[in-house]
Symmetry: C2
Subunit: 304 residues, 2 copies
């Protein structure tokens, strides 16, 4: 299968690298890492064992990549104003698109431009950071849950799940992508938001009793926002929050992507992770005062 | 009248200086500014005109001050664990105590130690900062609203108001001190909290539309907390919030005391301004989720 990766950050490089190692033909759209990777290949330093891919097909612009069987989108959502133009040259008659970006609204952009029937999305539970140019640090996890933008458990989504599984990436096809997206937000909203605002990793956040309670309150708000969207099955708030807290307690001083974005002076993914979820909740009459407040604080601190 | 000032920061020095200039005998308990003031006196740089008091009675410990007619307390509330021992040597049979400290709980400490019948409190609307040792910057405002800890419009509270008025300090005696305290919190909770958390002055905060809305939401929460306390007359939330926003819009990049405390690495007045008000609101069944969240964030950021 020919796969084109748009947005070759930690996520795009890691999954693209795993797929290439498993024998897929992967073409990367590169920016920061182009020269390093063309010279030295891609180094993945993983908790599951390091590996090196000496030959990488890296390109500076999407026209050089051309049509592929699947576009894998890992672009930071704050660059979504470029998403369609970057993706268009990769889309042929049979191409499907899978976005693993954070938050809500990404599949919608792809579906509007290229058709809902080719659009899939997924949530990635991946702890990874970029290292030196040409190097990705895989710190843990990596599971993907993917599904059709239009819903339902398609044959295609199961094939894609098999593709990732065969490449050593735990992957599950889900019938209700929106539910998976909201479940992911239950983690992303508190941990990305608070870590960026306070510049504290997840372990620091959870070791402070008041802050841990705030994390849980935010989680329950997000669950109530999600459950108002008519999911196939409601999320069990308290149980799911407890599960995520336990899961996060195992992470050793992990710095969420938004904290790293803030440290690096990059924009924050506020629209996809905060604004659109808040809009969707408000459209169903659900208030999320703490989430709203966290967005306001992040927004205000971004102007600093 | 012999007046002893405990807590000679910007507030204590300014009001004490004004009273001395008007002919009262004022004795200051000094720490940081002791030597500078004993050598050069006290310089007040005020929007209403600078003045200099060459002779100041400054003391390093309260025993040297001895009994006074009135103790004026301007101590930062995070030092309240020293409040009683610092004050005790100034208290004779006829002494009354007036605390102008921030937040709630201060009169309670004085009343418990020295008697409710001698205890008064007041809220100061004062924009002032400390300058170099021996210098206070008075940036604007200065009005005091004071009243009896036990409530009611006493002759004594009216006499004290006259004393301040005669010294050029706008001052009003109020029958319901608790109401005045809660009204002040309607300003202090959003502006002190957000300025310290985001390190942004009031003008920056209000110029950000989302943040301005958050300020107003916090104000309305505080009003609902206050109105649950059985005040003599409820605070009209929307009107009062609008008035405070308008008032604060006139301030030119004013940095609230908590922002300065944070910048200087001092502790924050979280107990008096946040914790006790939240406890009193919760005791009456009123939730203040944004205020609670702001406290959690300030608390977490204090551990940084």
């Amino acid at each position: 299968m020919r796969i084109g990766v748009i947005g070759s950050g930690a996520l795009g490089l890691y999954y693209g690298g795993m797929l290439q190692r498993a024998g897929q033909e992967v073409r990367f759209l590169l920016r920061r890492d182009l020269q390093a990777i063309q010279t030295n290949g891609l180094q993945i330093k993983s908790v599951n064992g390091d590996f090196h891919l000496p030959q990488i097909q890296g390109f500076a612009n999407p026209e050089q990549i051309g049509p592929v069987d699947m576009v894998l989108v890992g672009l930071k959502t704050f660059a979504n104003d470029q998403l369609i133009e970057l993706t268009r040259p990769l889309v042929g008659p049979e191409t499907c698109l899978l976005t693993l970006q954070n938050g809500l609204g990404n599949e919608d952009l792809l579906a509007e431009a290229f058709g809902a029937d080719r659009t899939l999305g997924g949530v990635a539970f991946l702890c990874s950071n970029r290292g030196e140019p040409g190097t990705v640090l895989h710190l843990g996890e990596g599971k993907i849950r993917l599904g059709e933008f239009s819903g339902g458990l398609s044959r295609r989504s199961q094939q894609l799940a098999d593709l990732f599984q065969a490449a050593g990436v735990p992957c599950e096809a889900v019938a209700d992508l929106r539910r998976a997206r909201w479940e992911k937000l239950v983690w992303n909203i508190p941990f990305n938001g608070l870590s960026a605002l306070l510049n504290q990793d997840v372990t620091r956040l959870l070791n402070d009793a008041r802050c841990r309670q705030l994390v849980e309150e935010l989680m329950l708000e997000v669950v109530s926002g999600g459950n108002a969207q008519g999911l196939s099955e409601p999320i069990d708030g308290p149980a799911f929050a407890a599960q995520l807290l336990h899961f996060t307690d195992q992470m050793d001083h992990y710095q969420p992507s938004m904290q790293l974005d803030r440290q690096a002076g990059r924009p924050l993914e506020l629209e996809a992770i905060f604004q659109i979820p808040l809009q969707q909740a408000a459209a169903r009459g659900v208030e999320m005062p703490r989430t709203e407040m966290l967005l306001s604080l992040l927004h205000a601190s971004e102007q600093a």
